[in-house]
Amino acid sequence: MKTWTQPMAEVQLFVANEYVAACWSVACDVIGQDKLTSNTGVTHAQNACGNPAKYKFKPDANGVPTGLWEHSDSQNMDLECDIFSDSGYSQIINASELPGYVGKTIYWRTKHYNGNGDGRVWSHEGTLSGGNHS
């Protein structure tokens, strides 16, 4: 026979942290030749910079992006992106500011081998989506 013990119950309440569910997405809308250079070795493709799956935002504990990286299959590495708010690529945006650009076009640049390659620079643009999903 088992020994009776006092019935005990513990309630664990789960509070949704809306930032845990943050997700960010962007993809380059430029197809083919880069708009800002005549170098025919600087092209954009839908299955490369045009693929949102190639991008990482690495959000912090509050769901705020800490940067933007594009994985390049051809270079076999993550390319750190310089982010801009204008098509002239002159107004730099810090990644932490990206939440203010949801639904807007952002501009970013990637460098061949993160600047350690042959000097080619790709100028991208696309609409940022994301934020909290609660």
Partner: protein
Amino acid sequence: MQEPKYVTTPDFILREIGDECVLVPIGDVGELENSMISFNETYSFIWKQFNEPHTIPEVIEIAKSEYEDSEGVMERHITEATIELVNRNILKVVD
């Protein structure tokens, strides 16, 4: 006066995870939404008895056949636990 019968509501399911029993809300449960309730063995026993409609005295009798109650507290414990479960809408009165 006839003792009321109680039964578990379909808004909760009991899952045994390792050696722990967890009551998980699956319906509209108000304040217990987004929560899990962990039962020890005797609380789990009480809840399981009410999977079929039972009165409190009936559950006490079943418990007496399975547990040794050297301190004589089992009857009070079962009564209090049942009332708590009813107050939390985890058990409901059978019409």
